[in-house]
């Protein structure tokens, strides 16, 4: 029981470190808040961005939190057979640099798992295998398969 938990924690922490490093070049890991009470202790997410002090993921910036959360989600799924991810505007608070690194990683991951991303940014739309435009007319939604040039006319 405890053994399985500790093994899983170790595995997710390793995955978390890998994905976080992919996007930021920094380090990240999970650790028991109270190591001497492994049966009850909470788990903390620690992130160390390049050139910065290691901090709990709740103390970093909005963009940095988006990156940490994405790395964690990718890390968790590695251990379960769920084959698809759906990300609805996870890039909303990311600057140009992190958005580009994020889409790089998602593109890479999409070779092994299905990834569905909702985004308003061209830099993400242009990497899509399939791109859909959703818009409304008279209060009714419709969806059209599109290419990036066409989207420009959709959004106006």
């Amino acid at each position: 029981e405890l053994n399985t938990f500790m093994k899983t924690l170790e595995k997710v922490s390793e995955n978390f470190r890998f994905f976080f490093h992919q996007i930021t070049g920094g380090e990240a890991w999970l650790r028991l808040e109270k190591p001497d009470e492994p049966l009850k202790s909470g788990v903390e997410m620690i992130v160390k961005f390049i050139g910065k002090t290691a901090r709990s993921s709740s103390a970093v910036s909005g963009g940095e939190k988006s990156v940490a959360a994405t790395a964690l989600i990718l890390a968790l799924q590695g251990l379960t057979p769920a084959e698809f991810y759906i990300f609805d505007e996870i890039d909303a608070h990311l600057d140009i640099n992190y958005t580009a690194r994020l889409v790089e990683l998602l593109k890479e991951m999409s070779k092994h798992r299905q990834i569905i991303v909702v985004s308003l940014k061209d830099v993400i739309a242009e990497r899509a295998d399939m791109l859909y435009g959703v818009y409304m007319r008279n209060g009714v939604s419709s969806i059209v398969k599109t290419s990036l040039e066409e989207v420009e006319t959709l959004v106006g």
Binding site: V43, K65, Q114, L120, R127, G139, S141
Partner: protein
């Protein structure tokens, strides 16, 4: 297992005309103006997977999930189907494709179907859980919730790890 097709009819902003979205195993991006219906597609997936909370489908009551617009008035039902590619057999069902369907009547009652035959919600959830697919899984990150995941407290995060152990 991945989603091959999403079919939406009368669910929230989608009207009486059936809309079919074909998906591949790679990277699909959904874009478009504010208020167009992008997040409604995400809601439709959660709805078909058996989501019971109207709030987590961004509606006050279940009846608000049925389409209403100046052009079409208020429809009488909403229906969403999800077709999975099951060639890897992670879903314990015969056949290379598995389709789950949920229909909501304006009485608030939901009906579920598996490959076109009536099924109970529990049947569907049990089959999907074999591939760890659930309406509130962390693999579905709704709009505006990503920052909150990084702010999860240490007990919540422990529970998440225990779930997959």
């Amino acid at each position: 297992v991945y989603i091959k097709r999403i079919t939406i009819q009368g669910f929230k902003s989608f009207g009486s005309k059936r809309v079919v979205i074909k998906l591949g195993p790679g990277l699909t991006v959904i874009t478009g103006p504010n208020g167009g219906g992008k997040s409604t597609v995400v809601d439709a997936i959660k709805f078909a997977l058996g989501e019971l909370s109207a709030h987590s489908l961004r509606a006050g009551r279940f009846s608000e999930l049925i389409h209403e617009s100046p052009a079409e008035g208020r429809l009488s039902s909403a229906k969403v189907s999800l077709t999975f590619n099951n060639t890897d057999k992670s879903l314990p069902v015969d056949g290379d494709e598995v389709t789950v369907t949920r229909k909501l009547a304006n009485t608030g009652e939901s009906e579920y179907m598996l490959n076109g035959k009536q099924a109970s919600r529990n049947d569907i959830l049990t089959i999907l859980s074999a591939a760890n697919i659930k309406p509130d899984g962390l693999n579905i990150v709704t709009q505006g919730s990503v920052i909150g995941i990084a702010e999860m407290n240490s007990n919540e995060l422990r529970r998440v790890i225990e779930d997959i152990a």
